[in-house]
């Protein structure tokens, strides 16, 4: 019986013949490892790019968003648990090979393809092959990932990517172990590798009541981002809704999200947003130099845009992002 060791993510699953990795979607067949979800998305949607969330990439455009079943983390409060914590036999899957993804994205008028919802790490080969074709077709490739990936596969994927949103769920190994059965450092390494590769990065932190909503949790995240990733990296504090194994908790209070935003901005982060909620100022982009309202958003809808060639129309400060 020939085992295989998967090297895609830090779990390094050792998989016996007939078995699968922890992610549920990579299987050992006759001593070779196969993806069970290549070309088989269970979620396909055309979404506003702001929903991904990307607030500094092609505002008001739409993104052709795909995901397969499975995930290599097991977050107790996963907001997409109905697909991430399922094997592909239990999801309703389409037959959509990479070339069809690109064709449908172009037909829908999308300017990007987003590999999202569950985690593109576990449908790596599908993400990779699709992103090669998408780039050739003039589409942007957007990754939304929990960042739990080994260095080598990430390095291979980076040349195809334009932007990535990485979930930094907490700032301790203990949190990652209890919440997600994972560890922290690979996620931080992922953020730094993406930055080094010149990919536009935004960060999302799902604020879960009683788990990671203390001032010190928010401060630790903000300080790390400012110190190692950069004060101009947008951070989205996202509202948790009771799901999966955390239905005993309430949704994140709006005050908590407002407090998180205030703390992060006090730590020097320039672009801090509140997500999964319509929150007025927390959805807007302001010039870090003169405070001018640059982009007003009502939820995912852009209602005002005062950027001119990616700069504040009043003072001319360049605002980082991919604006066209």
């Amino acid at each position: 019986m020939q085992h295989v060791e998967c090297l895609l993510c830090p779990r390094h699953c050792r998989i016996p013949e007939g078995g699968r990795g922890d992610c549920r979607v990579r299987a050992n067949v006759d001593g070779k490892l196969f993806s069970l979800v290549y070309g088989k998305p269970c979620a396909v949607h055309v979404d506003p790019i702001e929903k991904k969330p990307f607030f500094h990439v092609l505002p008001t455009s739409t993104s052709f968003s795909i995901a397969t079943a499975g995930c290599n983390l097991h977050c107790k409060g996963c907001q997409n648990w109905t697909i991430s914590q399922r094997p592909p036999e239990e999801t309703d899957n389409l037959d959509l090979p990479p070339e069809a993804v690109v064709r449908e994205a172009l037909r829908a008028g999308c300017r990007s393809i987003a590999y999202t919802y569950s985690d593109p790490v576990i449908f790596y080969e599908y993400t990779f092959d699709t992103s090669v074709l998408a780039r050739q077709a003039g589409l942007l490739n957007l990754l939304h990932t929990a960042g739990y990936i080994e260095k080598a596969p990430l390095a291979d994927l980076c040349p195809e990517l334009h932007a990535a949103n990485v979930d930094i769920k907490g700032m301790t190994d203990d949190f990652y172990h209890r919440m997600s059965r994972g560890t922290l450092q690979p996620v931080l390494d992922c953020v730094l590798a993406l930055k080094k590769a010149g990919i536009w990065v935004e960060i999302t932190n799902l604020v879960v009541p009683t788990w990671n909503d203390r001032d010190e949790d928010i401060r630790a995240l903000a300080r790390w981002v400012r110190t190692y990733a950069g004060k101009d990296v947008p951070v989205h504090f996202s509202r948790f809704w009771p799901m999966h194994e955390l239905t005993n908790l309430p949704p994140t209070p709006e005050d908590t999200l407002a407090r998180a935003r205030k703390i992060a901005m006090a730590e020097g982060l320039q672009y801090v947003y509140i997500g999964n909620i319509q929150s007025g100022n927390g959805n807007n982009t302001y010039c870090p130099d003169d405070g001018q309202l640059l982009i007003a958003r009502d939820g995912y809808e852009v209602t005002e845009n005062h950027l001119v060639d990616g700069k504040c129309e009043r003072c001319g400060t360049a605002i980082p992002g991919i604006w066209k």
Binding site: H3, L7, L8, R14, S35, Y124, F128
Partner: protein
């Protein structure tokens, strides 16, 4: 052309709007039928015992069954 114009003039008010609604519904039907046919072809393949080929993963290696 004259006949066509006569036909249009004899139609009750709102008929053209109804034609536009029918055309819209046809377009919706074409769009959804593509997805439906995709599912049907998948079912037919299953019935025929055909499994689509699996994609070999990247980034793995053969391993001994003993850990450590």
């Amino acid at each position: 052309m004259e006949t066509k114009l006569d036909e249009l003039q004899t139609r009750p008010a709102g008929e053209n709007a109804g034609l536009d609604r029918r055309d819209f519904l046809k377009l919706c039907a074409v769009a959804t039928s593509g997805l439906f046919l995709n599912k049907v072809s998948g079912w037919l393949n299953l019935l025929a015992g055909q499994k689509p080929p699996l994609k070999e993963a990247r980034f793995y290696r053969r391993a001994d069954h003993l850990a450590g």
